[in-house]
């Protein structure tokens, strides 16, 4: 979609909803250097959310939507869970269909967009919770990776089924007492990042969303690698403060505590050789672009 498409006819501008006017005049569609720093200075692609106050998922959503490199040509696929309560507020096309089938939907979607728009970039990004990604949808998560489907899978890992009220999930820690794990979970947290690497993902990161700059970096890398090379996977800790007994203002600290070097969300990444090469090329081009811009500014001054 070019920005031309969403231009409002001048005669009708004043009767369009203010949210829509904002989207057209102040959103960052088409801005190549968009990122988390735009938050608060321009129209965000998420208007509001219906998550709990202080939910780290809401932060993650804002950072991710600010960081997508190409939102004007990005389609997102969600699944059932807390994330599905947010997507209706998001200003990129997004699909919710069933619980756990997100990577299957994304496979068909990406292929259809490739058939319909040859030579054009259409990014597909999946965003789903850990129940959808690792439990009910694990088959389809892995099979999309085996097939080398060219889209990004983001898992919001809150280590339980939040939207249904805090039941045990595969990504829950061993020993945690939860609904449906009345004597504590009896097996280890599933090692999906390692499984993703072995399943053919070219870029895998396990981290929290405590640092927006880090989220921006990994989102951009994951989308670029998926676009050019093959599947990518991000596992982002977005704790369910409600179900682990924290207060609204304690989500950030919970993430910081969990990303310490010995903790389960210590930053971990895996990058395949072709992906390393691609990211190096992109970094070199970015450097060149910035140098040229700097030169231009100094000339003008």
């Amino acid at each position: 979609m070019s920005k031309e498409r969403i231009k409002i006819a001048p005669e009708f501008f004043d009767i369009m909803p203010p949210e829509y006017q904002d989207l057209v005049t102040r959103a960052t569609y088409g801005n190549e250097s968009r990122g988390w720093k735009d938050i608060g200075t321009s129209k965000e692609l998420i208007e509001e959310h219906s998550l709990c106050a202080g939910c780290p998922e809401s932060m993650a959503f804002r950072y991710i939507l600010a960081s997508l490199p190409n939102p004007e040509d990005t389609v997102m696929v969600g699944s059932t869970g807390c994330t599905s309560l947010v997507f209706p507020h998001v200003a990129v096309h997004n699909i919710h269909s069933l619980f756990g089938n997100q990577n299957a939907v994304a496979s068909g979607l990406k292929r259809a967009l490739t058939v319909r728009f040859p030579g054009r970039i259409k990014d597909v990004v999946v965003l789903a919770g850990d129940g959808a990604t690792v439990d009910i949808g694990l088959d389809m998560t892995l099979q999309a990776w085996f097939r080398q489907e060219k889209f990004t899978t983001i898992c919001f890992d809150n280590e339980l089924y939040a939207n249904t009220g805090g039941q045990e999930s595969g990504l829950m820690q061993k020993g945690f007492v939860a609904k449906m794990a009345p004597v504590g979970k009896t097996f280890e947290k599933v090692r999906l990042p390692e499984i993703a690497r072995e399943s053919g993902c070219h870029y895998v990161v396990n981290c929290t969303v405590s640092k927006p700059s880090l989220v921006e970096k990994v989102i951009k890398n994951a989308v670029y690698v998926a676009r050019e090379i093959g599947p990518t996977y991000l596992q982002l800790y977005t704790p369910c403060i409600l179900e682990i007994g924290k207060n609204s203002m304690e989500g950030l600290q919970e993430m910081r505590d969990s990303e310490k070097p010995t903790e389960r969300f210590a930053y971990k990444e895996y990058i395949s050789e072709p992906a390393k090469q691609l990211l190096a090329e992109i970094a070199a081009k970015e450097k060149e672009r910035k140098a040229a811009a700097k030169q231009l500014t100094s000339q003008e001054a």
Binding site: S84, S97, L98, K110, R111
Partner: protein, 402 residues
């Protein structure tokens, strides 16, 4: 004046995008001797399909693999084997959300495994075409023909058609897209046939020219936005309905479901125009009528021939579409019948139940004979059922104990 129409232009295989009415109703036909599976391939070759997703399950595997050959030849945009029927139907959904014309095939247990997807397809208004080559679904394992899965499909909000012959199949695959892609319909189509009887037998089928194909699907005629970011994304709702336990939420869900079923009703006029009615009748003024769908109709024809030899006149009603349900047509066609015989290839007799619910004096309906689990339906057992109804003594068939 300049036109943006693709009619008359060629696709990359050199096929001419042809006005579907010209292609289906006027273009010359070539008789060809093909299996049902091969006929599916030939129809898809001419249907300008963008994406086909396949999964092996008897008896649809051959057709699904043959369409792979079409992909290799360049007739289809993309094709791959999915990981299960549930996943395949979700992959089909993704492709249709992205604006592609989508084709797939399944059967029996695969239909059941995929089932969660079908009401979602209908609710999302995705005009996917799914061929269902019916087979048994229950334990003990059977791979043989049995139409019980159709009774589940009938409640999904999909269009459901039941082909009798390979010729039906050939024509209805293409006509099916034309009906289901109408803006006032825009629903998925389950195009069913009886597995093996249609897929694995050879028949003479009159094919349209191979150098003509349907115009491509235009996703911007859909009543819901295509998920390709080519039109402005709207914020769909202030709060997701699932969050709300209130009247607005319930009313929204209710009206959406009503709209899906209204769209099935609106498909009626298009289907009648394309298929020359939702039912076909022969000698509908006879006292005894055989009413059914699929190959039970073919067996009924044989029974009618056998009875005619004995001077007993029996008429026939072939039901072509189950959704939309031709209730009015059946009521009219059966109004003078004293006995309505409903032979079926399933144990529950869903067709007889549907008919009973549609006509006055439903005690005229004789639900049977039924065969299931892959048994064939010899015309003789239909003959016997009719004679029994008429009070004519007949020699008991071996094993029936009647």
């Amino acid at each position: 004046m300049e036109t943006t129409s693709v009619i008359g232009t060629k696709n990359k295989k050199g096929q001419v995008y042809t006005d579907p009415r010209v292609m289906m109703n006027e273009a010359p036909r070539t008789p060809s001797f093909f299996t049902g599976s091969e006929v599916i391939k030939e129809a898809v070759r001419r249907a300008s399909v963008d994406v086909m997703i396949a999964y092996p399950i008897t008896p649809q595997s051959e057709a699904a693999a043959l369409i792979g050959e079409l992909f290799a030849e360049g007739y289809i945009g993309d094709y791959f084997r999915g990981e299960s029927e549930f996943a395949v139907m979700s992959e089909c959904a993704g492709a249709a959300f992205g604006g592609a014309r989508v084709f797939t095939t399944t059967a029996g247990p695969g239909t059941m495994r995929a089932m969660e997807n079908f009401p979602m397809w209908a609710g999302a208004r995705l005009p996917i075409q799914c061929i269902v080559t019916c087979r048994g679904i229950n334990s003990p394992l059977s791979i043989q023909p049995d139409t019980i899965e159709i009774s589940y499909l009938m409640q999904t909000g999909m269009l459901v058609w039941h082909a009798e012959t390979a010729q039906d199949f050939y024509d209805w695959i293409m006509k099916g897209y034309m009906v289901s892609e109408e803006p006032d319909v825009h629903l998925p189509l389950a195009l069913c046939c009886d597995g093996f009887f249609v897929t694995h037998t050879k028949d003479v089928v009159n094919l349209t020219p191979a150098d003509m194909c349907l115009p491509p699907y235009d996703p911007y005629r859909s009543p819901v936005p295509c998920m390709d970011m080519e039109c402005p994304p709207v914020r769909m709702m202030r709060d997701p309905f699932v969050m709300k336990s209130n009247y607005i939420s319930y009313a929204t869900h209710a009206s959406w479901q009503q709209e899906v079923w209204a769209a099935i009703e609106r498909s009626r006029k298009h289907t009648i125009a394309w298929m020359d009615g939702l039912i076909e009748t022969e000698n509908a003024d006879a006292d005894v009528l055989i009413v059914s769908s699929g190959t039970a109709v073919s067996q009924g024809r044989e029974a009618i021939r056998l009875l005619a030899d004995e001077g007993i006149r029996v008429g026939l009603v072939k039901i072509k579409t189950l959704r939309p349900w031709p209730g009015e047509e059946i009521r009219e066609a059966t109004k003078n019948a004293k006995y309505i015989i409903v032979p079926e290839f399933n144990v529950v007799g869903w067709m007889a139940r549907e008919i009973k619910a549609s006509i006055p004096n439903s005690d005229r309906v004789i639900a049977g004979p039924h065969v299931c689990g892959g048994m064939t339906m010899p015309p003789e057992i239909i003959v016997e059922q009719i004679k029994h109804a008429l009070g004519i003594r007949s020699a008991a068939l071996a094993g029936r104990g009647s």
